[in-house]
Amino acid sequence: LNVVSQAVWGALVTGSLYGLVGVGFVLLYRASKVLSFTQGGFMLLGAYIFYGLTTSAKMPFLPAAVISAVAVAALSAVVYTVVFSRVAAREPFATSVATLGLAGVITAIVAVLFSTSAVTVPNIVGTASFHVLGAVITSADLVSIAIMVVVVGAILIVLRTTPLGLRMNAVADNPSLAVHLGVSAARIATIAWGLAGLTAALGGVAFALRISIAPAGIATLGFYAFPAIILGGLDSVGGAILGGLILAALQGFAAQVFGPNSIDLVSFGVMLIFLLVRPTGLFGKAEAVRL
């Protein structure tokens, strides 16, 4: 029972983090039809800014996390307006490919500044741990889940109830019609990029709390968000969370049964199967191809 409940709990925490990062992908995709490979880079950046603030500046958790998130969100929005906006409206696909380049640049910069070896963030959220049904629940886990719930909850409330959310949904539904009705698609896309940066940075912060971080490792974690959002559907916020949880459960299962080396194989194998059989995912919407 101990092993099982520990695995379930671990999957819940990891899955909620995949979901958090996945929500950023989904927002971005809905707003600009761009799939940003830079999310992994922004996770990395968030994690290392957080690391810098907590070690060098000795900041407590909350201000450090907020500063990292806001800084990365601002950077993400600026990068969009300065670099991608002109091309993104015309060629979302080329922009998606180009974001892979940006991810490489960010990874290289972080690796040069902080070296490629792994670093560990000092334990600043307390060392208290609880035992529930045999599973050890650390405070870092609780903080990670809290971040996910708060951020995704806030995003969902904004999407459902505010005029901004209405505009974002309109752009996601039919960009050209939304523009004709007076919605600024460019502004919506900028906001979406900012939010995506925010979720990525917080995902990075949460990972930094739980495991030691290295540039290459976090970039790979960013790639795990892809199977998650394909499972859930590229344009569904709730689907991203559920996809993240399913993926983490699968990964935990694979690691227990076939060993940790099989995690990549299982994650991307499932993604490939979904792409072949049901590319819209569990909750996505099919898109008609027009000439």
Binding site: V87, F93, S96, V97, T107, A108, N261, S262, L272, L275
Partner: protein, 389 residues
């Protein structure tokens, strides 16, 4: 490509394309049909066509470079060998990415498939080079065909994602197998053709260059047939191609298969070059650098892919010698020297980003713009001449 061999005698220089163009058009006007026959006028007409002088100059420069490196020191030879291997891989990727317009991030996976097919067969006792080469090509062909299946349902983002999935799956499988069976990788036998050892040095270099030339010319010839036309139609618009009667499914699968086979051949040669197949070499980073080669050179051009491969492969060595020169002259350059591979990776990513966003034609596109500019200088002159006559 065949015309290239006949072109040099008639071409004077790139700096003066306008005048040769004017002369060609004047000749055609005088005797339109009869002059069109024969080698020299045909070459001249080929040369007038926009972009061709640039291609010619790039081909000549690459050929001269290839010959020069063949006689240079062993270190240069080594660089030349890796340039040739990656040029083969880049040509393989360019068949898919540039030719058929299917952007896929699985080049590294196909190189791994080629390398591991060769290495595992060698482990089983097969030592004949041609058997290993053909076996890797076949393995690449089959996996390429399979990897094309997701591409039948969709293109663009979903295809990109499925190719990334393939990349991760192949890396994971090869790594697991390698750690279980032989953690330090799988050694390959020496490369023997008949009784001659082609494993290293100038013989290996010549073999690689010949392979590159054969594959390049074969790809160029295929592009001139209906297959090339069908791929071009796919690239421009799949829906439009399907509506005009192009069998999208079939040609797409062919493009994936051929590209997979060529890339696997490059992987096999890479394994020979290193002496062993090691799963760690064929990761997503390799894939990204392959795609960067295709994009930096000029996405729709095979020549661009070769140019990109040479630039991307040779640049780290150039930067390295440049930085050692700077260090010895007293300027602090330690942040580069200490993080060379990281900085190089970042630099390539940056180049990749800039090319995609701002110069989709790549290096070759830039050179062709230069040619257009030179033409416009010459064009004014020739225009005046026509008024006089």
């Amino acid at each position: 490509v065949i015309d290239d061999t006949t072109a040099p005698p008639s071409s004077t220089s790139l700096a003066d394309p306008g005048t040769s163009g004017a002369a060609g058009s004047a000749g055609n006007a005088a005797q339109p049909v009869t002059l069109a026959k024969g080698m020299v006028p045909a070459a001249r007409r080929w040369l007038i066509r926009k972009g061709n002088p640039t291609n010619l100059v790039v081909i000549i420069v690459l050929l001269i470079g290839a010959i020069w490196i063949g006689g240079a020191n062993p270190f240069m030879n080594l660089i030349g060998q890796s340039c040739a291997i990656f040029a083969i891989a880049a040509v393989g990727q360019s068949i898919l990415v540039g030719g058929a317009g299917q952007i896929a991030f699985s080049g590294g996976a196909f190189m791994a498939i080629g390398a591991f097919t060769a290495a595992l067969l060698a482990r089983a006792g097969v030592t004949n080079f041609f058997v290993l080469l053909v076996a890797s090509a076949l393995a690449g062909l089959v996996v390429g065909l399979i990897s094309g299946l997701p591409g039948l349902r969709f293109r663009g983002l979903y295809l990109l994602l499925s190719s990334i999935a393939l990349q991760f799956i192949v890396t994971s499988l090869t790594t697991q197998y390698q750690t279980a069976v032989s953690p330090q990788g799988f050694a390959l036998p020496p490369l023997m053709i008949g009784s001659i050892d082609f494993s290293f040095g100038v013989p290996l270099y010549i073999l690689l260059i010949v392979m590159l030339a054969v594959i390049y010319i074969a790809a160029a010839l295929v592009e001139r047939t209906g297959v090339g036309l069908a791929w071009k139609a796919l690239r421009e618009s799949e829906v439009a191609a399907a509506m005009s009667g192009v069998d999208v499914v079939r040609w797409k699968l062919y493009a994936f298969a051929v590209s997979g086979a060529v890339t696997a051949v490059a992987g096999c040669m890479f394994a020979y070059w290193v002496g062993r197949a090691d799963a760690g070499s064929y990761d997503l980073t390799l894939t990204i650098s392959l795609v960067t080669m295709v994009f930096i050179g000029g996405i729709t051009s095979r020549l661009g892919a070769v140019l990109g491969a040479v630039v991307i492969t040779a640049l780290p060595y150039l930067l390295q010698s440049g930085s050692t020169a700077l260090v010895s002259s007293g300027i602090s350059f330690s942040w580069y020297v200490n993080n060379q591979s990281t900085v190089n990776a970042g630099l390539f990513s940056l180049l990749f980003l800039l090319v995609i966003l701002f110069e989709p034609g790549g290096l070759l596109g830039l050179l062709k713009k230069l040619e257009g500019w030179l033409r416009s200088l010459g064009g004014k002159r020739s225009g005046r001449r026509e008024e006089q006559s």
